[in-house]
Symmetry: C3
Subunit: 324 residues, 3 copies
C-alpha cells in the first residue's frame, strides 16, 4: 500500500513500527490460511516470536510497500514465515529491499482460545531445508525460555534528571485496547503491539539526541502472553546502551486487565530496538554518550555492549562469507 | 467533514476512493433509515450497485466536503439513492460540485442476513418520476445480470515486464477485514471496498505514467457477493486501455473466507476506473500508450476503446441537448 | 503520543478535539481501573460531565503529548478526575502546560448497562480536600439539572444567507457510529463525541472569519444520554456570540437509533466552544462581528455576552488572587 503522512515522521521517513505492523499482518494471513487448509477445527494464527530484523533502507511518504510472505518451516504446533518488504518509488520505478523478517506463529482454536491446534506439515524441495528449519526452531525455542526469565524489570519515573542520563529520556505511553486493535479471537495483533513499542522507543531516542532518528534494527521479540480487548497496556522504554552512532532502547509492554476478569498487571512483551540519528541529508550522525549512574544501569550498558559487539561480529562474518 | 492529509496524495488532491467512501456512507445511512421507517423487522441496507460516476473537479486538503443524499426511487426490494458531493473552500467560501452518484441498496434483516425485506414505497410528486425510476431500475437489473457472467478473470504476476506493457503496471493489495471495516451485520461496507479499489487503480496508473494522477470516473460497480469479517481480500488491477489523455484500469476484488466457515476464494466485485495524468499546474498531460502483447490484452483494449467512445458520444449528446 | 499530520489543521496546530479525546481516554482508564479495584461486579466508567476547560497554548505536529490523570474526589456513584496535558518538543526539550481538565465519571455494570454501581471511596490526605470536592460535586450536580432543561433547540438550514449572519456559518456533520468509536459496553466514548463537536465548531468558526482558527476553551459539557453502536449522530453548530477577538459556538449532538431498537431521535449532548482567529505568525486577530437577525439570535447573543463577561471577571479575580 502507499505510505501516507501519518505513517511517517516529520522528516518524511516511514516509522519502523508501521513496517513491522505490515510484516506481521502478512505473516498472520499466510499462516492462518495454511493452518485452516486442512478440514478440522477453524483457527487463528497468533504471533509467538519475531526474529531479529534490520531496516536496510528508509522508506518515504508516497512510496509503495510490497510485502511478500512465504512459509519456510512447520513444527507440530508452529509455523515459520519469512516476510520481505520492498519499497518502490512508483514515479521513478526504483525498488529497494527495506526489510527481511522471520516470524513464528501458533494456531489457536476459534472455539477455545487456550487450545493450540496441530499444523499441517509443508513439503520441502530439499531435505536440507527441513533440517535447517528444525535447527532454527530449536534455537528460537531455547531463546524463548531464556527471555521468559528476565522479564521482571520495572521502570520508575525520575525527578529532575540530568541530560543524557537514562532517566532523562525514559518514556511511557498508555493505550486502551479497542476492537480495531484485535484479531477475530479478541486479542491484540502482534503488529499493533510492535508499532506502539517502536513509537515509544522513537520518543526515547529523540529525547536523548534531539535530532531526526530512525529505527535501524529490532532484536528478537517474544510474545509470551496474549493481551485481551479492554485491557490497558503501558509501553515503557529506556536507553540501555550507546555506541558511536547507535542507541539501544529496551521496551516493556505491561497489560492491565482491570475489567471483566480482574487479574494482576503482567509483563506481556519486552524487546530491544536500535536507533540511529540522521542529519538533514540522511547521513548517520554521532550520538551523545549515555551517562550511566546506578549499578543496574552500568550492568545493562555492558550487556548492551555485548549484544552490539556480537551483532557486529556476526555481520562481519556474513560479509566475509558473502565475499568468498 | 474537513479533508485531512491522509485523505490525499502527495500533490494534495483528495483520493477518489475517499470521496466514494463518503458517498456510500451517506447512501447507507439514508436508505437504512428509510427501510426501518415502518414498524417491522429491523434491517441494514447493503450496497448492491453504484452507477457510473464522474469526478468533476479535484478536492484538496483543508476543504470541507458537503455530502447530501436523497431517495429517488423504490422498487419492492431495493432503494435508489442520489448523492451529491460539494467541495467548499471555507477560507474563500467558494463551492464546487465534485461528484454526483446514484447508488442502489437492498435491505437485509438484522436477524437473518440472508433475508431481503420489503422496502416502504416513497411518494412521487409527479407520475413521470416514478416511470423514469422504474426504467432506471430495469436497466441496472439487466446490467447486473450481464456483469455477473464475465466475472471469472484472474491476474497472474509477470516476470521482468517491459515498460508500458500490461504486466508492467499491474498491481495487487491484500487486506484483512477488521471490525472497523464492517456494518452492524458483520459485512464489509461497500465504501471501504471502493476505497481500496481506487487505491490499487491509482498505483497501476502511477506505475504506468509516473506522474501525479487523479480519478476521473468510475464505471458502474456491482456488488454480487457480501464479504464477511475475518476474510482476506485481494484487490488486483491491470490497465486495459489508454486514450490520448486517459487510462482505463480494471479492478477485481477476491474474498478468501479461510477462517470459521471455509469456502473457496470467490470474486466479490469488479469495476473499471478511469484516471488522468496531471502536470504540476493541474493540467491534463498526454499518457504513454499501453503496449498490448497477448490476444486477450488486445481484445480488452478494443473493448475499452468501445466503452471510451460510447461515453464520449453520450457526453456530446448531453452537451448538445443542454445547448438546445 | 506524538502528534501526527491528521491530528492538526493546515497551519500545523493540533485540533482541540484531538486533545479532548486524549484527555477523556486517560480519564476513562483511571476511573474504570479505580471502580474495578474492589472485588465486585465488573464495570466500565462512563463520562458524565467535563468541566469548563481552557487551551492555554497550541500544540504542533511532531510534539509529544504527556497526559497525566489523578482521582481527586469520589461520591457514592461518581468519580472526579483531574487531567493535565503537557506538550513537549522532543528536539528542544521545551515543555508547556497545554490543558487542565476536570471530568466526572459514573461506573456502569458490564452485565447490565442501566445499573450504576457504587464507587470505592478514596483516602484524602487533608479533610479540606474532601470538603472542597464535595462542594464541586454539588455545584456540577446543580448545573447538570439546569442544562438538561434547555436541551430542546433545533438548527434549521437557511437559504442564501448573508455573510457574517448566524445562518451563513452554521454547519452540521453526520457520523455513523462504528465499533472503533465505542467502549466495551457498546456506547460511544465521550472523547469521540467531543472530537466531532470540535470539528463542527471549527468549521463554523472558519466559515465566519475565513482565517486559521484554534479552540480557546470549552464550556462544561454534560452527557445526559448514552449513544449506542449503530446510531447515526448529527452534530450541528451555530455561532452565538462574538467579542473583539473571540467567537462562541453552540454545538448540539443528536442521536438517531434507527436500527435494532427504533426510538425517536434525541438530543444527547450540547456545549459551547470558544475559538480565536490567528495570523500566520500565531497572533490573535480581530474577528468580524456576528450579525444577529431574529429575536432568538439577539437573545442568544446577549446570553453569550453574559457568559463571556462572567468568564473574564472570574479570570481577573484569579489573577488578582495569584498576584497577592
Amino acid at each position: 500500500r502507499i505510505m501516507r503522512p501519518d505513517d511517517a515522521n516529520i522528516a518524511g521517513n516511514v516509522h519502523g513500527g508501521t513496517i513491522l505492523k505490515m510484516i506481521e499482518e502478512a505473516g498472520a494471513i499466510i499462516s492462518t490460511r495454511h493452518c485452516n487448509s486442512q478440514t478440522g477445527e477453524p483457527c487463528v494464527a497468533a504471533l509467538a516470536r519475531v526474529e531479529r530484523t534490520d531496516f536496510l533502507s528508509p522508506m518515504c511518504i508516497g512510496e509503495v510497500a510490497n510485502v511478500s510472505a512465504e512459509i519456510t518451516y512447520t513444527s507440530r504446533h508452529s509455523v515459520e514465515v519469512q516476510v520481505n518488504v520492498m519499497s518502490e518509488n512508483i514515479l521513478t520505478g526504483a525498488k529497494k529491499l527495506t526489510n527481511k523478517a522471520t516470524l513464528w506463529y501458533v494456531p489457536l482454536s476459534l472455539k477455545n482460545v487456550n487450545k493450540v491446534l496441530e499444523v499441517p506439515p509443508i513439503q520441502y524441495t530439499r531435505k536440507e531445508q527441513e533440517d535447517e528449519g528444525k535447527k532454527r526452531y530449536e534455537e528460537q525455542k531455547l531463546d524463548r525460555l531464556e527471555t521468559k526469565q528476565r522479564n521482571g524489570d520495572v521502570i520508575f519515573p525520575i525527578i529532575n534528571p540530568e541530560p543524557h542520563t537514562v532517566g532523562y529520556s525514559q518514556s511511557s505511553l498508555i493505550h486502551l485496547v479497542g476492537p480495531s486493535d484485535c484479531t477475530l479471537l479478541g486479542f491484540v495483533h502482534g503488529g499493533v503491539t510492535m508499532k506502539l513499542m517502536d513509537e515509544v522507543a522513537g520518543i526515547v531516542a529523540a529525547r536523548h539526541c534531539k535530532t531526526n532518528i530512525v529505527t535501524a534494527s529490532v532484536d528478537a521479540i517474544n510474545f509470551h502472553e496474549k493481551i485481551k480487548k479492554g485491557c490497558v497496556i503501558t509501553i515503557s522504554g529506556r536507553m540501555t546502551f550507546t555506541s558511536n552512532k547507535s542507541m539501544e532502547i529496551e521496551v516493556f509492554v505491561d497489560a492491565d486487565p482491570f475489567v471483566d476478569e480482574p487479574r494482576e498487571r503482567y509483563r506481556a512483551v519486552s524487546a530491544f530496538f536500535t536507533y540511529v540519528s540522521l542529519s538533514k541529508e540522511g547521513k548517520p550522525l554521532p550520538v551523545p554518550q549515555l551517562l550511566t549512574e546506578t549499578e543496574d544501569e552500568k550492568r545493562r550498558f555492558e550487556e548492551g555492549k555485548g549484544r552490539y559487539l556480537q551483532t557486529k561480529a556476526k555481520r562481519q562474518a556474513q560479509m566475509q562469507q558473502a565475499a568468498q
